[in-house]
């Protein structure tokens, strides 16, 4: 925590301000702030376009331009540090197709994508999706893997996707890569990844009541006995 009372410590120096443009309006905000901090500092209390604030939820997709640069860049407001003269607009929502399906009834192959997301096959190979991805994923790469029917590869390549929607906003083939990718991951997880044999054994043990006697015994202990049992328990990270 901030140590305010400690003697002789230098107080943090007053922060330097830099100009940024939030939806065209100019504000002076402290240097080093993230875009999200800057928007709030400017006086906005967000009710949309804000989420986990740690880069996991994809709620705060933002596009920006830097002075003298023609490129439209994308990022997460909570993870991108402001730069002088930055023009900022949040994209709190992406209009996108989301197929509805019963995962139990799907086939884990390319035909599923042909059925639910035929636009996958319109990919132009322009790579605009990968360039804008704030997670630096090879978005085009996983789309092409899907076109080849390699669902495992698509699932792994897209694994770190936070579904912010920026790829979709840039795609000239007008597909919703992030919704396509989650279908690939669900198909892989449900059908293609290897299964645990022992998990079935354990489920059967529980169903058959194998642990009921032990539960009965441990739940009948007094707090003191339970404490003793806990302290004396064997901690072992070697065995599985």
């Amino acid at each position: 925590m901030r140590e305010e009372s400690e003697k002789g410590e230098k107080k943090p120096t007053k922060e330097k301000r830099i100009p940024v443009f939030i939806m065209g309006q100019k504000y002076e905000v402290p240097e080093g702030f993230t875009i999200l901090n800057a928007i709030e500092y400017a006086g906005y209390q967000l009710k949309r376009g804000v989420g986990c604030r740690e880069g996991f939820c994809g709620a705060c997709a933002t596009v920006y331009r830097l002075p003298g640069d023609y490129k439209l860049r994308g990022g997460l407001a909570c993870q991108t540090v402001v730069q002088p003269g930055m023009y900022i607009t949040q994209i709190p929502f992406t209009p996108a197709q989301k197929a509805t399906y019963d995962i139990e009834k799907l086939k884990p192959d390319v035909t599923t994508f042909q059925k639910f997301y035929p636009e996958v096959f319109r990919c132009l190979g322009c790579n605009a999706c990968s360039k804008v991805c704030p997670q630096e994923l090879d978005v085009m790469g996983y789309i092409q893997a899907i076109m080849r029917g390699d669902i495992q590869m698509a699932a792994n390549m897209s694994f770190d996707c936070i579904m912010c929607g920026l790829c979709t906003m840039r795609c000239p083939a007008e597909m919703a890569q992030y919704n396509i990718a989650i279908l690939a991951r669900r198909l892989y997880g449900r059908y293609l990844s290897p299964k645990s044999e022992f998990l079935e054994v354990r489920l059967k043990e529980i169903e058959e009541g194998k642990f009921e006697e032990q539960f009965k015994e441990i739940m009948s202990l007094s707090k003191e006995e339970l404490r003793k049992r806990y302290v004396e328990r064997d901690i072992n990270f070697k065995i599985t």
């Binding site: 604030r53 995962i103 997880g189 489920l203 441990i218 806990y230 901690i235």
Partner: protein
Amino acid sequence: MSGYPESMQESLNLVKKTRPKRVELARKGLKIFNALTMEEREEVLSKYHPDYQPDSKKIIRLGPNKNEKLTARIVDILESHSRINPDDIDLSNPDFDVDILIIGGGGAGAEAAIWAMRQGAKRILLATKLRIGDANSMMSQGGMQAAVNPHDSPVIHYLDVIGGGHFENKPELVKILTSEAPMIAKFLSHLGVMWDREKDGHLQTKPGGGTSRRRLLSSRDYTGAEIMRTLRDEVKSHPDIITVLEYSPAIELLTDEEGRVAGALLMQSETGEYIIVRAKSTVITTGGFGRLHIKGFPTTNHYGATADGLVLAYRVGAKLRDMDTVQFHPTGAAYPEQVLGFLITEKVRGLGGQPVNKFGELFVFPLEPRDVEASTFIRECAEGRGVKTPTGRVGIWLDSPVIEEISGPGTIEKQLPAMLRQFHRFDIDIRKEPMLVYPTLHYQNGGIEINGRTETNIPNLFVAGEASGGVHGKNRLMGNSILDYNVFGRRAGIYAAENALKNNIGKKLSLEHVRKWEKELRDAGIETKKISPILFPDYRNFELIKKHRKELDPFVGFALTGWQE
């Protein structure tokens, strides 16, 4: 190149210097530091844990927990006025008449919706303050506990949970939690969750703080995100049965003439529109309270974690429990300032990462229960063995490079991609340099008391996930929150659907409990401008908001400074 400023380099060099010796200890499989005895645990907790500070709790003056000591900030938020005057609202024409209303779109809410549907419910409304999936569930990284190894069992898991919770958990709930964990692992896998697996398909397991076996299932370090986005996808795949209403927080529950819960009053957060929902069963899955910044701590929590459900339920008469303890996660980021408080997964320590002080010395067993581990970090800093940052904060090092020295290069990229990416954004390579950490506000250990059917003491009101109380006692172990919301979210869906089959609510909706609440406030002599639920924290520049104003809206600046009274 180092990602840290000059002033921190001296200490970094010491960490580097002591690393080979620490790696050698770990390689030999020796305990790198002795675990504390129960007595030593008590001592460090009472001296350094924020819950044990004299100003951390106060007595609540009204409601079902009247005269009990609760966390002070919680008392503040409970001893508040409603956002509405019941006389201003006409309840005669509900906008929705459903079997089940679920309030909160995180993991517990999504599980409840899916299982209510599987149970045969046809009209399910899931209302959420932000978007579905905007929740702490999305952010948990480390994993989910489940006894899926031959040398582990639900009973061993049970003992770990009870001990971690200081023997204050509701045993009935813990038994359910640990017994249903393997089933949940399979259910999620069936939905398409990509668990980390061994080559033969066996689920990979890692140790966690306070566990006695390897029991933590993971999906890289996006475990929460992987599960939440899969549940969300499943919910969104059934729009004919589950209606999702986003940006629509509940601001009060509704009852029937007999005081049984019968739905809720929602408010569209941007337009202010009131939405009246009549429901046969109401499920609260609103999550926790991190954004209340208890004791001024930064938090790992989602923007929406403002304890809304707690306030609503308390006003309608639901009893709370274990609301006198707060979980501080030992490893919140302390540098750089932009990511202050942000969660550094416990998996870092599960993989062998070591906490060391400014001299590069080990000072604690890395996998103590969270409250104990956090207290030792605070101790090191309070006694001058912490590392100072340029902005005047202090922390201890979490030495991540040892992970690759122990398990080989590439381990961090494979196992901690999110952490690697987050720090890389600020020019810190966690494969080469440690992270600076300090405890951060993480979890609401207690909540609205439930039984094994997720019922509360109020008819038709169910609660699951972080909003509920009893599962974790006074301290939750790592990997049990994902498990909690899956196990009890599922149960809430099933039992809420069952409950909805009964003819269980009267025709007329009522806000009588709000009138009663206001009277209780007056009778207790509580004069306040405070209003709750607050719905959103406020991080605006306070100077700007104060400018030229004599009077402030009661919510202004809440998160940073408490209410402006």
